[in-house]
Amino acid sequence: MTMNIESVTLTYERAKGDPVTAIRDIDLEVRRGEFVSLIGPSGCGKSTLLHCMGGMLRPSSGRITVDGEPITGPKPSRAAFVFQDYSLFPWRSVVDNAATGLRFAGVRKAERRAVAMKQLELVGLDHVAESYPAELSGGMQQRVAVARALAMDPQIMLMDEPFGALDEQSRRRIGIEMSNVLTEAEKTVVMVTHSLDEAIFWADRVLVMGKGPGRIVREFVVDAPRPRRLDFMTTASFDTLRAELFGLLEGAPEEVVAP
């Protein structure tokens, strides 16, 4: 599986004022089994790019293909989302939430529940399968959302600031846990994040985006095998990378924010 993004531009028409170009001329290749993180200042179009990859938004120009086949709309077996706000259905139990995509695809009840249960086991939530989302913590809800995406057995997982709403500690803990799960499942993942640590710790490649309009300004390769252990965050190479990223995002805004 290879996803090719070729000179993708997305321009929004606005009711008032000039149209806004959210992203311009993005070129990117995502290869099988790779973990790519997208980081950049707010409004740099990283989430827009992710939505284009999943067929939720249509580029104004350029094209996105998976193994040569163009993306024309959402298709969860090709690209499954984990959204920032967990967005579980409060009227469905945890296992039924995890089976949501399968139900839409017309999979029979017993079968889809079995698949969903397997994914819940993977994210460590099989013991709350019959609970309702409101009874779960934010971190648990997001793990259900991960299970829901995994249940589609997608070629690529698209995660939009998946742990942004969690507190620092659970964010790190669940992040490491999910990173391991996804690595072991050999998933191809593109993740949008605000967190430098997260961007480096999870990924094989970190893409830094700049804004006005959104484009990719730098690419870093994180040269360490996955799954990684927490102490990877204390290594010198992690620190160097982090400092470089920090400088790029915070220290030299002229490079990230176009004139």
Binding site: P74, S77, F81, F83, S87, F89, P90, F104, R148
Partner: protein, 251 residues
């Protein structure tokens, strides 16, 4: 637990107060039995009424009218709310109209219903259905309109078809709002049907009550009110039981 006991004690105390005042008024209070009959007489009447088949058939008629009116109001209200809540444009057009229908005293139309449907059951059903329709349509409209965009986004991302989005996402998402409309609508149906029977009809509990008080059968009227109170309590219980939300929203 202690709290619960206190609550029940006070409730019972309230009832004792009410019946005590009644007993005092008809006894030492010297209120005329034409205005307020003695409790014992009402009780005798009550026993007489609940053993008569006429009362049961009257109650049956009222119940059928109520059920028919409610069924029409429910289906029409949810369908109209769903259709009008589909686009912001439709909602903008329909919302003030439905709100207006909700506020208008629909009893104004009752003489017309009698003209169109006669004094039989149909006019009660029409009037009851109309008054139950507006709160159900209004709340359904708002429920369908206010569906959290996140749910629709998930539906789209996970490949839901149009009808799957309608039935598996929009319906359950709007359900709490729809149900609150249904509860109000059912209560209004009940009030209207009984009122309509009292105003002009030939049968039903409301009719019996109006006849009894107009012919100064005050004890019978009191007994009928007692029966109606039980009837209302049963309906209320049914509504609350069926209308209970099955899940908590993720607030």
């Amino acid at each position: 637990m202690k709290h619960k006991i206190a609550v029940w004690c006070l409730r019972i105390l309230g009832l004792i107060g009410l019946f005590g005042a009644w007993a005092y008024a008809t006894g030492p209070g010297g209120v005329s039995p034409i205005l307020v009959p003695k409790m014992s007489v009402v009780w005798e009447q009550f026993k007489l009424l609940v053993t008569s088949s006429h009362t049961w058939s009257s109650a049956g008629i009222t119940a059928v009218e109520l059920l028919a009116a409610f069924a029409i109001a429910l289906v029409a209200g949810v369908v109209v709310g769903f259709i009008c809540g589909r686009t912001p444009f439709r909602a903008e057009v329909a919302e003030p109209l439905i709100a207006w229908g909700y506020l208008v005293p629909l009893v104004l139309f009752y003489p017309l219903f009698i003209l169109w449907f006669g004094v039989g059951m149909q006019s009660k059903i029409a009037y009851g259905a109309l008054s139950g329709f507006f709160p159900i349509a209004f709340n359904s409209l708002r429920g369908f309109r206010a569906i959290d965009q996140r749910y629709l986004k998930v539906a789209r991302a996970f490949g839901a078809s149009g009808s799957q989005t309608d039935w598996q996402v929009k319906m359950p998402a709007a359900l709490p709002m729809v149900l609150s409309g249904v509860r109000i609508g059912a209560a209004l149906c009940m009030i209207t049907v009984i009122l309509a029977e009292m105003l002009a009809s030939t049968r039903g509990l409301g009719y019996e009550l109006a006849r009894a008080s107009q012919t100064l059968q005050v004890a019978e009227a009191f007994a009928l009110i007692l029966i109606l109170l039980v009837f209302v309590a049963i309906v209320q219980y049914a509504i609350n039981h069926f209308g209970k939300e099955r899940y908590r929203t993720d607030a």
